[in-house]
Each structure stands twice: as C-alpha cells, then as structure tokens.
Amino acid sequence: MTSTVVAVGTRKGLWLARSDNRRDWVVEGPQFLMREVPSIGVVPRPEGVRLIAGFRSEHWGPTMLHSDDLGASWHERPDAAAITFPDDTGAALARVWQVTADPHDPDVVWAGTEPHALWRSADGGASFELVRGLWDHPHRPLWGEGFGGGAIHTILPDPQDADRMLVAMSTGGVYATTDGGATWQPRNKGIEARYVPDPFPEFGQCVHKVARDPATPSRLYLQCHHGVYRSDDDAGSWQSIADGLPTDFGFTVLTHPRRGGSLWLVPVMADSERIPPGGQLQLQHSDDAGDTWQTQGQGLPHPSYTCVLRDAAAIDTHDQAGLYVGTRNGDVFASTDEGASFTRIIEQLPDVLCVRVAVVP
C-alpha cells in the first residue's frame, strides 16, 4: 500500500492532501496561514522523504523550513537563515522560487532564488552556499525581471553527470554548466524573444519552465513566454514544437517520470490574455516529444478564466502516472489516468503557487 501526498503552496499558506487510493483525499490545512509558499521540494533521503519549502511573509521576510514527516511538522533553523547572501554581494533574499533534489547525492539540495541566484546545500537543505560561478556571471546585471520578479525558477541536474546542470530564469533564459557550477554558458539558440528588438538574442528570453525527458536526458522541453520548444542536444539548440497547439503561451511543462517523449503543457491564451484557450481549462499532451498534440482534461471547468502558474502542476510516480494542477482561483485537480480526466480534490484556496507530490510506502 502506498500513500500519495500532494503539497499545495498558496499565496496565504500551505495545504496537504493525502490519499491511499488517489480517489478519496483527506485535506489538511492551512498551515502557516498568511505566509506565501512559493516553492516546495520533495527530497528523497535514505530515511524517507524530506519536504523542503520556501516561505515568505509580507512582514517578516523569506525563510525555509523542512519536514521529515510529510508535512505533519515543520522545522526551521534556530540559529541562522538557511539562505543568506554573503556580505560582499550586497544582496538580500527576497523569495525561494525552487527547491530541487540532487540525483547523485541525497545530502545535496539545490535552491533557486530571487534575486537571480543558485544555491547548493550539502547537508540536506539545512544550509545553502551561493554558487559563485553563476552569481559572478558577466550577464547577471543584464538579467531582467518578469512580472513575478527576477529569479532562477528551474533547476535541472543531469541525472548522468554530476558536473552538468541547467538552470532557467525569468528573464535571462537557460544557462548550463559542465564543470560543476564553476562556469556557465547561455543555451538559448533558437528560442525567440518577441519583447526585444533582436528576436533571437544570446540571452534574455523569458523562459517559463523547462523539463527533462526521463528516457533521453539530453532531450528537453521548454515553455517560453510565447513559444514551446524541444532540444535534442542538451540545450545546445532549440526547435519549435508549437505546431498543433491552440496557443504557444503558458507557464508549466511536465514530463512523465519514466516514459520518453511524453509531456504535458497547460496552455494559456496569450501574454495579453491570461485565461485558458476558449475559456476551457485544459492540458495539451504529446506522446511523441511534441510532434503531435492532444487536448486533455475531461472534468476541468468550462468556462474558466483562471491560470496555472509555472510550479503549480506536478506528476506522480505511480505506474499510471497521476497529474495534479492548481489554479490561481484556488482549485486543485487530480488525474489518475495521465491527464485524460480530472476531479477537483481541493477548492476555495488562495492562489495556488506550487504543487508537488510524493508517493511513499
């Protein structure tokens, strides 16, 4: 018997939904009422899953907490903040946007923050060290801010090589390291930027999310601020896979936990019209790496004028993968048939900022 735990970070607190069968859900919350929860990481450790979350109070600032009992209790360092910008940077942490487990070392955890910075923890997320190679990149002063702020929001370690990693940021685009973070190179060739005079700049794209193919790790899928792309050479170049989609705008992209070529988008009409296409909340699914697309989402509401943010969707690791989608108007929908149909498992929450799922024995 396995248990599925869906963690939902919102603008005003954290909720958890638990189920032994993915049909009947027990919803718990709110925890940390009135604190924003923009990021949650599911970190596998030898003794069990650790949840690590970024929190932010409008008054009392950002912080990180972790839970070793799937969200029943949370712990914060008493002696110092987990993430503190070094004095010489003159910077202050605004928000933790991403927490990512390392596939090579259970003690290593990565965090992406606003302002644009990447952090590495070697103690399971208790404390983080600034990745200087990226902070000192000459492009950093030229990276911009999306509406939500300027941040590193995507961290993709290479599952086959601990020295290789991709990050993505809004705005700035994709950057990669092949030497363990010492040096970083922009990897945006072929990604169009419609908001600057040069449509194909070296960097500066407003990349919204990138996901890695599980079967072919050098294959990546990218949802941009207009534009959906695939790379078959570890972000060396990108080709559009937007043909056949109702729109090329959106925030999130998910890949199947095991099956290659299988990905999902949650389309949004346009940057000037941030509602589902035709008012139908839906997913777009491809089983051939983006060559063709199918509309999914039976059970999702119509008409709907909400939006799904970049980290507000997740996929579980069950044999038939489950998808979880949280909306800005506070609904969370679950699918146990890989997106074909959904049921609402939580409603009337504050804006959903992030959704993550853990499957545990």
């Binding site: 109070s57 008054h59 009392w60 600032g61 008493p78 002696d79 903040a81 004095d87 003159g90 202050a92």
Partner: protein
C-alpha cells in the same frame, strides 16, 4: 546619558522567535542607536533578527519600529539615538491583501 534599560516590545507573532517572550530588555551604558539595541537584543535569538532585518542589515519594508512613539522611518532609521529608559515598539505595517 546615564546607563539603564531599554524595553523592546514585540508583536505576538514574533514571540516564538524571541524565546517565548513579548518583551526584551537591553542594558545600555553609553550613547547608542536603534541598530545597536537591535544587535544586542537579538544576539541570543538570531531568528528574531532575521524576521526584522534582512542580511544587509536593513529593516524589512513592512516592519515598523517606533522609538518612544516616533516612527524611525521618518527620522534617522536604524541610526536613531536610543537612550536609557526608551521604549522600542516593533509592529507589522499595514500591508497585504
């Protein structure tokens, strides 16, 4: 100035970060500033400091601090002089939605 005690009154939401109390006292023996008082008050409870000030040392935007009833943002900020007998109020600003 004469030596003496400065009272720091905290909102209830910060009590856990202050070791379970809603008021801290700092003994001052010479002319000092709000920065010096907060440094001394948070020496044994660093998480309280993180709540009030970011890592550059700046007061967080929506944290208001009053020294003897005067909003320090309208004066010298963290350089506001604090004398023995002063009362420092830390309060959340009106913000959010």
């Amino acid at each position: 100035m004469t030596s003496g005690r400065v009272r720091i009154l905290l909102p209830g939401v910060l009590r856990d970060d202050a070791g379970g109390v809603s008021e801290l006292g700092v003994e001052v023996v010479a002319a000092t500033t709000l920065r010096g008082v907060l440094d001394a008050a948070t020496r044994t409870c660093p998480r309280l400091d993180v709540r009030m000030r970011d890592e550059t040392g700046a007061l967080r935007r929506h944290v208001n601090v009053f020294v003897n009833g005067e909003d320090v943002r309208r004066g010298a900020g963290l350089e506001t002089p604090v004398d023995a007998g002063a009362v420092v109020h830390v309060l959340p600003a009106v913000s959010g939605g």
